[in-house]
């Protein structure tokens, strides 16, 4: 009995921590959705682009870890800058649908650029953190929990607290919240939309880099990261598109539910249900609570 409970705890905690990795990806979507009411289809490509550049800096140019990370983060700010200048600004007065299509195009551009610059082979990313159980926890609590999962959880928590402080207590954070509520009114009192756009795209880029590092360390830095980012979709449907706490909790729910279902119900379906179980959950949310747990209101359903 105790063993069964321990096993359940292990599955649950492992799922929750893996869920923080979904939360990290979803966070990038939420940032951009808040400022421009657009689902950014290029977020997956941004994850891939940023982490591949990070690997490239380290492996092809032998730049040390920390410096390579800073360079990659800086590169994502440049990507944000270019996106604002060459994609968003010309489309300033276009409809949201047009911007949505533009983000799909931007995704292809980023995927292509990344592969052109750094090649197409799968790269290994070694963060110095193993994806195997932490001995101390295994010995003392009898739970087998991956060190990488724990790291992802801690990193996600730090990023969330950082973003929360940025939005709540800084001037540009106030500007962003104003734009998120009513972009027209914000521009009528002189809040320059282009600064806000630059901020959210840069922040989303850096969040993408962090998420990419976590995923890349687990699954290898490869093209499949683009599709992994789509896992953020059920996360957002459950958490609400415009809510940062929603992205976090949505990620945790998806992570926990998919692991628990996989272990306990998976065998009845022949296994591998974690690939689609989150989408089933998302459908139930769309049917019964379409704005998500924390969403403000439905602006667009994707």
């Amino acid at each position: 009995m105790v063993d069964e409970l321990l096993f359940f705890m292990e599955v649950l905690v492992g799922g929750l921590l893996a869920g923080t990795m979904y939360s990290l990806v979803a966070l990038g979507f939420v940032l951009i959705f808040k400022a421009s009411a657009t689902f950014n289809f290029s977020q997956g490509a941004m994850v891939f682009f940023s982490v591949l550049a990070f690997c490239g800096f380290m492996q092809d140019f032998n730049i040390p870890f920390v410096l390579a990370f800073i360079l990659a983060a800086f590169l994502m700010v440049v990507v944000g800058l270019c996106t604002e200048r060459f994609v968003l600004r010309p489309l300033m007065n276009a409809s949201e649908d047009t911007v949505l299509m533009a983000t799909i195009g931007l995704g292809y551009v980023l995927e292509g650029l990344a592969q052109a610059a750094w090649g197409v082979e799968v790269r290994r990313l070694d963060l110095g953190i193993g994806d195997f159980p932490v001995p101390w926890i295994a010995d003392n609590l009898k739970l087998f929990i991956s060190a990488l999962d724990i790291t992802a959880g801690v990193v996600a928590a730090i990023m969330i607290i950082g973003l929360f402080l940025l939005f709540k207590y800084t001037k540009i954070g106030l500007g962003l919240r104003a734009v998120a509520d009513d972009a027209g009114a914000a521009s009528s009192i002189g809040i320059p939309l282009k600064h806000i756009m630059l901020l959210v795209w840069s922040a989303a880029g850096v969040v993408a880099l962090v998420a990419g590092c976590m995923w890349g360390a687990r699954a290898g830095v490869q093209f499949a990261l683009v599709d992994l980012a789509l896992k953020a979709l059920p996360v957002l449907i459950i958490g609400g598109f415009s809510s940062i706490p929603g992205a976090i909790i949505g990620g945790l729910i998806i992570g926990a539910v998919e692991k628990v279902l996989e272990v306990y119900i998976g065998p009845f379906f022949g296994g591998a249900i974690e690939g689609w179980a989150p989408y089933v959950l998302a459908i139930f949310f769309l049917l019964y609570r379409p704005e998500g747990l924390f969403g403000e209101k439905i602006i667009r359903r994707v």
Partner: protein
């Protein structure tokens, strides 16, 4: 070089189109003298909001464009400006329908108005205290979420927020829409006070002709994108046609100035 002309705003014969096809203003000219309150009156769809948005350069975001004529603000043409530059120059528009930031607190809403100014925390608090002397009601509700305040309070938030940008000129688009008469009076009292104590020039679009004229120095009446009549507020209030068409002191079933002009030309034809 400061502008020596007596008008802070000078609109000359503007024509405005939306989407390159829909003509919203045909020919509008108006002046706002420095330190005065000017009312822009007319029914729904007459072109009041369009005129204000042409001045604040917010037309572009609605795919509108000034296609003829000129707008000079404080001695310079505005045609190369964008809304945040206009705020920097001291012209702030309070949009129709209040448009508060619902998820922000009342105080955050007001502070957001100072975004374009480089102020220290201390300066912001000082400005806030000054603003609260005009909007006493808002001080009590400073910590509430704006979405949960009443319509009148939201209108006050919108004006207070605009005042935080330290404007030389305010454009108010239907500030009394949907408000009870008592609140209408309260809002206009504040507007007058801001005008007199802070020296802010005001261009005000209203459907509430009577109250608007009683609180203004000068008035323009527009219909279907044209200025039909203008004059001092006093003269308009005592004008028979205005009384009949806009103040509801009517004799017959006339609807607007165009009908009046038609009737007059018919009479002329008969006489000839």
């Amino acid at each position: 070089m400061s502008n020596t002309s007596a008008n802070i705003l000078d609109i000359k014969n503007i024509e405005v189109m939306y989407d390159n096809v829909i003509l919203a203003l045909h020919d509008v000219s108006l002046k706002v003298p420095k330190g005065k309150v000017v009312a822009l009156l007319g029914a729904n769809g007459a072109g009041k909001s369009t005129t204000l948005k042409a001045v604040s350069t917010m037309l572009a975001s609605e795919r509108g464009k000034v296609t003829k004529g000129s707008i000079d603000y404080d001695g310079t043409s505005i045609d190369k400006q964008n809304p945040s530059q206009m705020v920097g120059l001291g012209m702030v528009q309070v949009l129709e329908g209040r448009r508060c930031f619902g998820h922000l607190t009342v105080e955050e809403n007001i502070i957001s108005g100072a975004y374009s100014r480089k102020l220290s925390k201390g300066d912001i608090n000082q400005e806030l205290e000054k603003i609260y002397t005009y909007f006493i009601r808002l001080k009590e509700r400073r910590k509430s979420q704006a979405a949960f305040t009443s319509g009148g309070e939201q209108q006050m938030i919108a004006v207070a927020r605009a005042m935080m940008a330290k404007p030389k000129m305010l454009l108010l688009d239907e500030p009394t829409m949907g408000l009870a008469p008592q609140l209408v009076a309260e809002i206009f009292n504040i507007v007058k006070e801001l005008n007199q104590k802070e020296g802010v020039s005001i261009l005000l679009a209203e459907q509430n002709t009577n109250v608007a004229l009683k609180n203004s120095d000068y008035g323009y009446i527009i219909e279907t994108g044209r200025v039909m009549l203008d004059g001092t507020a006093k003269s308009l209030l005592s004008n028979d046609q205005v009384k009949e068409l806009y103040l509801g002191i009517s004799k017959k079933g006339r609807k607007n100035f165009r009908d009046v002009l038609k009737e007059e030309s018919l009479i002329k034809k008969k006489i000839n």
